[in-house]
């Protein structure tokens, strides 16, 4: 029974990662606003972070990052590291998280996206020393954060519902197990 609930959770998260990744790369790239696309994977990682805690946030982050790494084909492990820390960071806020309140999740997702931007800038700066922070801040980081938060309003609701469904089925099966 234990195995079954865990594998159901893993399968669901895997499907969510696929969904976000494919939407982000193939669909939202056609609907750019101010030259940026929203970061759906980040919404997923952050949501699992504050909904389920540090550990699950980290693991979801690690796998999202690995997917990106494999796909981008530069250095494997770079984005895994970025998303890993974002998952951990969001996991710190699980104690003050309540499912029905939308303010905290959206703020956290926005802040996470800015942190993600800072990490990207550090990497870029290592590659190209002339990178101008002001430009990237106003033209990439801020628009990306805003767009991501906008999309998060819908996507977060979906992830929340999926998680609630998972938790309900888990509780039910564990209850049966105890009885």
């Amino acid at each position: 029974m234990e195995m079954k609930t865990i594998s159901r959770r893993i399968l669901t998260i895997f499907l969510l990662i696929c969904l976000c990744f494919v939407l982000q790369t193939a669909l939202f790239s056609r609907f750019e606003l101010a030259g940026v696309t929203p970061n759906l994977l980040l919404i997923l990682v952050a949501s699992f972070g504050f909904m389920r805690g540090r550990r699950e946030g980290m693991i979801v982050g690690l796998f999202c990052g690995l997917v990106v790494d494999m796909y981008m084909g530069t250095y494997v492990g770079l984005y895994a590291l970025f998303y890993l820390y974002l998952g951990f960071f969001n996991g710190l806020f699980r104690k003050i998280f309540y499912g029905d309140d939308f303010k905290l999740p959206l703020i956290l997702i926005g802040v996470s996206d800015l942190i993600y931007g800072l990490m990207q800038f550090c990497y870029l700066f290592l590659m190209n020393q002339e990178a101008d922070f002001g430009f990237y801040f106003w033209n990439v980081m801020i628009p990306e954060a805003v767009y991501t938060v906008l999309i998060a309003i819908f996507l977060y609701y979906l992830i929340l519902k999926v998680n609630q469904w998972l938790e309900k089925t888990e509780k039910r099966s564990s209850g049966r197990f105890v009885r």
Binding site: V22, Q24, T25, F31, M58, M70, G73, L124, N139, E170
Partner: protein
């Protein structure tokens, strides 16, 4: 209360362990150039088919610019295009004459044709990179279609970028406007070489990329001159159009010039690209690229 997961490592230690894991992966991939290997099979069989499908749906629902144009705009455009056709026909005739002359002269000198037309294969852009910071995209052909790493990608007669990784059914292309891209270029009139570097900043602000280290000894390069890929580049085939000079100024060292180039390709609306199915082979390891 939610149950704890079955493994009981405190999250702090897990973070440290996973960080070390990632750093090791980074190190390994940096040293060996490993980029996913067998893991990329996942993207081959899971993501790419879905991206293809979604891209097709997306192309159906997103309203293209052409459909939205009014009749008057179309007429005006038609007028200017007709004018352009006339101009170009005249130019073409001139060029043809010169070409035949050149051919005869070449025959006389027994020279091989310097730039044979490259063999290309068409590919479709199916997805953008996941990051807004780096300008990469994915095309729907991979090693199964003969695409390998370091092949040049062109569109609309201009250079788009280079294949940075090829998997079985897809390949990732880094465009020349990416911040980390450097292309060795030259002017097609004087053959003075320069380095063309992509920049997201200037691309967003005024649709240009920059060039530097141009040794314009005869002082003849001016605004509007074409910059093509140079013959000394170790990854790019020579003679592919990069763009046209928009601004040019002398550097403070009074030896070299730098400025900006408007790329020949419209990077905002890339849909179909051509991949040159020939990799430039250099026997000696050349640092410049």
């Amino acid at each position: 209360m939610r149950r704890k997961k079955s493994f009981g490592i405190p999250s702090k230690y897990l973070l440290v362990i996973l960080t070390i894991f990632c750093v090791m992966m980074l190190f390994v991939s940096y040293v060996t150039g490993f980029s996913g290997g067998p893991l990329q099979a996942v993207s081959n069989y899971v993501f790419v088919p879905m991206q293809r499908g979604l891209d097709y749906v997306g192309s159906l629902i997103s309203v293209s610019n052409e459909d939205a144009k009014s009749r008057k705009e179309l007429l005006d455009e038609n007028e200017t295009l007709k004018q352009q056709v006339e101009d170009l026909t005249v130019q073409l005739n001139n060029t043809r004459l010169q070409q035949s002359e050149l051919d005869t002269l070449r025959e006389l000198y027994q020279l091989d044709q310097a730039y044979s037309a490259y063999e290309t294969t068409g590919a479709r852009v199916i997805a953008k990179g996941t990051s807004n910071w780096f300008d990469t995209f994915t095309i729907n052909k991979g090693t199964a279609d003969g695409i390998t790493k370091d092949m040049n990608v062109i569109a609309e007669g201009g250079l788009v970028g280079i294949v940075t990784s090829a998997s079985k059914h897809y390949a990732v292309v880094r465009s020349i406007i990416d911040d980390t891209a450097r292309v060795s270029g030259m002017t097609n009139t004087t053959w003075d070489r320069c380095i063309v570097s992509g920049s997201l900043a200037s691309m967003t602000q005024d649709q240009t990329i920059s060039f530097s280290d141009l040794e314009d000894t005869s002082d003849s390069v001016s605004v509007g001159d074409a910059i093509v890929t140079s013959n000394i580049s170790d990854k790019y085939q020579p003679g592919i159009l990069i763009g046209y000079v928009t601004t040019i100024e002398m550097d403070s060292n009074n030896l070299t010039k730098s400025g900006t180039i408007t790329p020949a390709v419209d990077f905002k609306h890339l849909q179909d690209v051509l991949v040159i199915t020939k990799v430039k082979e250099i026997s000696d390891g050349n640092e410049n690229h």
